[in-house]
Amino acid sequence: MRYIEWVVMFIVAGIGIALANFVGFKVDFVDSLPGIVILLVISIVSVVISKIVPFKLPVIAYCSLLGLFLACPLSPIREFVIESAGKINFTAPLTMVGAFAGISISDQLKEFARQGWKMLFIAFLVMVGTFVGSALIANVTLSLTGVI
């Protein structure tokens, strides 16, 4: 995608976040605006970085790292970033992700129905194993290092 396409798509995403934040959590558009601008600027800069930097990392890795950097104690605009982003409810950006994700897998419905009970069971085990394996190691390490 060209930069201009990314920017316009991000603005569409921003409108979606503001809408969800208003409908679901009664936060006015004006109150959501600073937080949304911050999230979109981080996203746009991340896209630029991912196109310029020669080694391949997912765009979302840069989004996360930039967000972390802007909100960490070293950042001069830390308070503003945390406060503005705090107005955006945690699940508000997700409704639109779900809408597009749903449409994007809508042509796999028959394929999904064709999967037998064995595969369904295995897929559930895969998710449980991935989650519990991590939780187990995390819990042991956290207690050994005295964090919990």
Partner: protein, 282 residues
């Protein structure tokens, strides 16, 4: 620099062919967020329904196999839009991590080590897959949580028509359809056992699948509202690390481990399956 192939001739063309998708997404948001969060106690856990679930369902229903409102072309366009929309969400999570940076740093060793826990799937699911009579497809199915990168990796390593890639595709499709809701519910069930600290559960949520992480984190935050900030900070940090190391973990550890376990276990468990299932069939 490599020349990018553009899907559209320009912004105007993109807008003309995609505006219906945006309009539908806005409509889904209004409907889904009006319904809001619903908590359903289910067994030991808590099924917490978030607007994202309703919008996924509306999206699936609007597609070419049910209501036929969207055609193949729009389905393809929507998958690009998922990436666009998840960026601001991940940025928001990054900000949460920065705001709770002390928690993230103090949990540093745990954050790095728990990445290997993502391989837990192999030890749990591969033996059972073999007992159920799966062959090489079990390697694709069980080696990881099977999101986009893993699917591409399996097709690349074993070929698009291989049994391994078929197994990977199956888990990918199931994960897409029901993974988001299952992952959130499963997190609450695991939490209800009381065996794990909420911090550990937060980290475990980051498995390299943004939407599943979001679902688990939202569910856990609803269960432990006082620790919501730390949970999302740790989930975000873990998700970022998983996003970076996931593919290497699969290439250098996950797939070799699956191959080895397959060689060791298949000769033992294959016949067990045959004894258990063939008798009934004959």
């Amino acid at each position: 620099m490599k020349q990018e192939n553009y899907l559209y001739s320009g912004l105007g063309e993109r807008f003309r062919s995609e505006w219906k998708i945006y309009a539908a997404a806005f409509l889904f948001i209004i409907v889904a967020d009006s319904i809001g969060q619903i908590k359903v106690p289910l067994g030991p856990g808590m099924l917490i329904l978030f607007p994202i679930f309703y919008s996924i369902i509306m999206g699936i229903l609007s597609g070419p196999q049910v209501l036929k409102f969207f055609k193949k072309k729009e389905v393809k366009a929507a998958s690009k839009l998922v990436i666009v929309c998840i960026c601001p969400f991940i940025a928001k999570l990054g900000i949460n991590a920065g705001a709770s940076i002390e928690t993230v740093i103090s949990a540093g060793p745990a954050l790095l080590l728990q990445e290997f826990g993502n391989l837990g799937t192999i030890f749990l699911s591969l033996p059972i897959a073999l007992l159920l009579g799966l062959k090489r497809e079990s390697i694709g199915a069980c080696h990881s949580i099977n999101r986009e990168t893993n699917l591409a990796l399996m097709q690349d390593m074993f070929g698009p028509d291989s049994a391994e890639a078929r197994g990977s595709l199956s888990v990918y499709i199931i994960g897409g359809m029901v993974g988001t809701i299952f992952f959130g519910f499963m997190a609450t069930v695991v939490a209800a056992t009381g065996l794990f600290h909420p911090y550990a559960l937060g980290m475990a949520s980051g498995v390299g699948a943004g939407i599943m992480m979001a679902s688990a984190t939202a569910s856990l935050s609803a269960m432990y509202p006082a620790m919501a900030d730390q949970i999302s900070a740790l989930a975000s940090a873990s998700e970022t690390i998983s996003g970076i190391d996931g593919i290497y973990m699969a290439i250098f550890v996950g797939i070799p481990l699956c191959n080895w376990l397959y060689r060791v276990l298949e000769p033992k468990l294959g016949p067990v399956h045959d004894r258990l299932f063939k008798k009934k069939e004959s």
